[in-house]
């Protein structure tokens, strides 16, 4: 019985406690005030072309391998 409790205690200690879940989940959220996130990015070049034609502005293209706003 003691052995079973010990095994249970070891496994219970290894799993992720709710308090740590809360801390990590908060820690891993992107900050709203990050400067690059305040830029009004479009994700379609044709939408950008349309806006550039309408607003008489040049298009700035951030072209990466992997999506710049996602997994790069």
């Amino acid at each position: 019985m003691k052995l079973m409790l010990l095994v249970f205690a070891v496994f219970a200690a290894e799993s992720l406690p709710v308090s740590e879940f809360r801390t990590l989940h908060r820690q891993l959220q992107p900050r709203q005030d990050e400067a690059w996130r305040t830029i009004p990015w479009k994700v379609s070049l044709l939408e950008a072309q349309r806006a550039a034609a309408r607003e008489k502005k040049p298009i700035f293209v951030w072209a990466m391998d992997g999506h710049p706003l996602g997994c790069t």
Binding site: L16, L24, P40, A52, I59, F60
Partner: protein, 295 residues
């Protein structure tokens, strides 16, 4: 990722882009290949720069007019150089009367639309420790970076989740394409056979489990615990908050510079609200083979 923390964190660059330009962010691996209006417009711009379509990557920062006239290129993330390029582009820029380019029929091979009736879940990741101390600002950016991606959930998987069940297909996708260290660049995904163990149960709205992912050679792996909370209302999932935390080791060809040995690493999931433009970005794992990702 470095660009987000360097070039696009510089207040001068940010101000210029917000006021004088139409900024667009793309994964050029799509546009340089697309045989449609979107692709042709990109290829027209890129081919006027130093990197030509058909000769590998065309990645970089471009400025062009609405009729596709090239105004500048830079592939250096130094904010000073980017700022100079932007100023020069503004000097050279002459507004033109041009019509919007009709979208036409998109190249189906490169269309990425979230599954109808499904879910988009934001995925973020972070190395929690293990890096050698450094004063180098570029290394620090890597060390502090947050990986970002989106997980797509099919309609049937969504319905199952709302009913308190986690489908095997979603479990596999989550492990293979989202328990990855994408904090320093494009990482390798896991092969199906590299999922050594993924025991996870959904009971009473709580997801709990353990995962062990490892390559055949053992040079890369992740052993972690998972805890999450799923809530639903009227057949729709209203909460999907999950954290996976454990020890990671190794790196990929394009994600070098990981801490030596095993290091603490966490991944978090939360429902996308559609309020962030990045919610529209397709999962990295769907790149090149959507069916392989969403199956």
């Amino acid at each position: 990722m470095l660009d987000r923390a360097s070039t696009f964190s510089d207040p001068r660059v940010v101000k210029l882009l917000k006021t004088k330009f139409i900024p667009v962010a793309i994964d050029q691996a799509y546009q340089r290949r697309q045989q449609d209006a979107e692709g042709r417009f990109y290829q027209k711009i890129a081919n006027q720069g130093p990197r030509k379509v058909g000769r590998g990557t065309t990645q970089g920062l471009y400025v062009a007019t609405a009729d596709g006239r090239f105004l500048g290129f830079n592939n250096n993330r130094g904010p000073d150089r980017v700022q100079r390029m932007l100023h020069q582009a503004l000097v050279d820029f002459r507004p033109v009367d041009v019509r919007p380019i009709p979208r036409g029929k998109p190249d189906a091979k490169y269309v990425r639309i979230p599954p109808e009736g499904g879910l988009v879940i934001r995925v973020t990741s972070k190395v929690l420790g293990g890096y050698a101390e450094t004063d180098d600002k570029w290394r620090l950016m890597f060390q502090q970076s947050l990986g970002r991606d989106n997980l797509w959930v099919r309609r049937d998987e969504h319905q199952a989740l709302a009913g308190g069940r986690l489908q095997e297909s979603l479990k596999q996708r989550l492990a293979r394409f989202h328990l990855i260290d994408n904090t320093r660049g494009e990482p390798p995904m896991w092969k199906a056979e590299e999922i050594r163990r993924f025991d996870v149960s959904l009971k009473g709205g709580q997801l709990r489990g353990t995962v062990h992912l490892q390559t055949a050679s053992g040079d890369r792996g992740y052993q972690a615990d998972l805890l999450g909370f799923v809530e639903s209302k009227d057949g729709r999932v209203t909460r999907f908050d999950v954290v996976v935390k454990g020890m990671f080791w190794g790196h990929g060809q394009y994600s070098a510079g990981a801490p030596k040995g095993r290091f603490p690493f966490a991944v978090a999931f939360t429902l996308a609200t559609g309020t962030d433009v990045a919610d529209k970005v397709p999962p990295q794992g769907s790149r090149g083979w959507l069916d392989g990702y969403i199956r």
